[in-house]
Symmetry: C2
Subunit: 321 residues, 2 copies
């Protein structure tokens, strides 16, 4: 009956959740895969049709069978802090750790295979459409002619990366930018480009889903905001995040999205337009929530702790859509 | 109604399957993700709740909705042959291509998420146990003391990598080796080590599963074989592969394994002992089959072509175990 948290040493967000788990006397083991073979250890035995596994981290030794839930927060690269790190050692260690934990019977936030799939933006857009969420018209293309035709149909566009952060060291977020009128799309031929109809937004919405619990926050766009500043992550602070009601139809769609994606946690970003419609932008399966909790006072960390401990209220029952 | 094959230009195994598809007049598009943005192109549009996608490769243009099956053979690194390759371009291209193809409605051999999970050896061992396949006693550990105790219980051991090939350029297979008596296991502390009871084998068995069709081949161990030579990939040629009957219980377990792993293709390696028991060693979801087809004359390529074309006989119905 233990919660395993895979994350690095310095992770104040994890600390918030651990505090709640400690308050409820739920045993927690915190393990950074980077510490494996130097500070952390593992063992798994497959004999006569059965499996017995152990993990040790710091002073704690836990049986794999006793792990009730695994929270994949911000795990380090396996064996990165070993005495003699190497690509080979990382591969072997990743295989041993994640191979042993997969299907160990624990609940995952999030299951690593579901998490990996959930990162594909084109897949997100299609799933959001299927779940009934409004998705701004989007084109992902390497055909300049397709980009030109799309820009004729939707003259007010933004461009954003298809994937997440730029893989430099440390990774860098690439801002969403407005496409200037009359842009020549010839360069599209050299790399897939994601163009999306710009939503003239009156607010950004962050909906944090934890199991069946949805906690939404809304940040109003300033009346004098620069319309070229489309990416809230790079905008001046402005209004704080405030708790928001989740419209019924959105809630139904979000529950369907999580179920089909097999995600226990998701941070959904929407742009709210002048009509009040929430336009789906993306769902980050490992999105930060600390800044929302600080601004709104919403009990996100506590809800995560309850989910991990298995004491969360059951998810809102939603008909299959 | 098209079969999409993701592979490189030089792939004689794919050629064998393509020949069968051509003979049945099934349209085939062959695309190497490495060619994207230079020779290959993609486009996907998400408008008003619907998706329309296209891929072009060489002279062929195919609608994503028309793809009936995707065969992930040996795809190159996305955009590796672009005019200006980079880690960023590879990431963007991988996201665009695989994000668009995921859940496009086609059948996959193999689904990329299932394929990824299927590579975890510890997960394979546990799944094989659960499906009722005999698994030689195995230990994966970084605890030297656990290794010593295991070697006392099972004195005749082999050691093999937890993961697959060594990630050098080009990747190199790491042979399974016999553990010498009296080995000191102190070094286990520095990297996860996989120890497995050696099966005194009278034959190697390769079982190729294509959908519901199981084709097994057997290669007898020479009477004068060196018992230290445990890895068939590195042994002298010896006897050829011969077709073999699949024992009923093994067939049932293999069908269960594929179903739970969500795999349409798997190359299972077994060691046959003196009692005729097939001991599960591993299941390679992208294992080669050309050498077996050459030796045995078994119609593996044709069976794959039939599966991709959707004309294969349905899988043997097997009760859920």
């Amino acid at each position: 009956m233990t919660v395993l948290i895979l994350t690095g040493e310095e992770d104040v967000t994890a600390d918030m959740v651990v505090a709640h788990l400690n308050a409820s006397s739920v045993p927690v083991v915190r393990l950074d895969p980077a510490d494996l073979t130097a500070g952390a250890a593992l063992s798994g035995e497959y004999v006569h049709g059965t499996f017995r596994g152990h993990l040790s981290s710091g002073e704690r030794l836990v049986s794999v069978e006793a792990i009730r839930a695994v929270w994949v927060r911000r795990p380090g690269v396996p064996a990165a802090r070993a005495a003699q790190p190497s690509a080979w050692l990382t591969q072997e260690t990743a295989q041993a750790l994640y191979g042993m934990l997969r299907d160990c019977g624990a609940r995952w936030m999030n299951d690593p295979d579901a998490a990996r799939r959930a990162r594909y933006k084109p897949w997100q857009l299609r799933l959001a459409q299927r779940c009934g969420l409004p998705v701004p018209a989007t084109l992902i293309t390497t055909f300049p002619q397709a980009a030109r035709e799309f820009a004729e149909r939707f003259p007010d566009l933004v461009v954003k990366p298809v994937s997440g952060a730029h893989p430099q060291e440390p990774p860098r977020a690439v801002p969403t930018s407005r496409v200037a009128p009359g842009t020549d799309f010839a360069a599209v031929a050299y790399g897939p480009t994601l163009l999306q109809r710009r939503i003239a937004k009156r607010a950004d919405v962050r909906l944090t889903a934890v199991g069946g619990t949805l906690l939404a926050a809304r940040k109003e766009t300033a009346a004098d905001a620069d319309p070229d500043q489309v990416d809230v992550r790079f905008a001046p602070p402005g209004a704080p995040w405030r708790p928001a009601e989740v419209p019924r139809a959105v809630a139904r769609s979000v529950h369907a999205y999580l179920r089909r994606a097999r995600l226990a946690y998701g941070a959904f970003d929407f742009a709210e337009d002048a009509d009040g419609t929430w336009w789906f932008l993306e769902c980050n399966q490992s999105g930060q929530f600390g800044f929302v909790e600080v601004d709104t006072g919403q009990p996100i960390a506590r809800t995560i702790a309850e989910w991990l401990a298995g004491t969360a209220r059951p998810g809102t029952p939603v008909a299959e859509s």
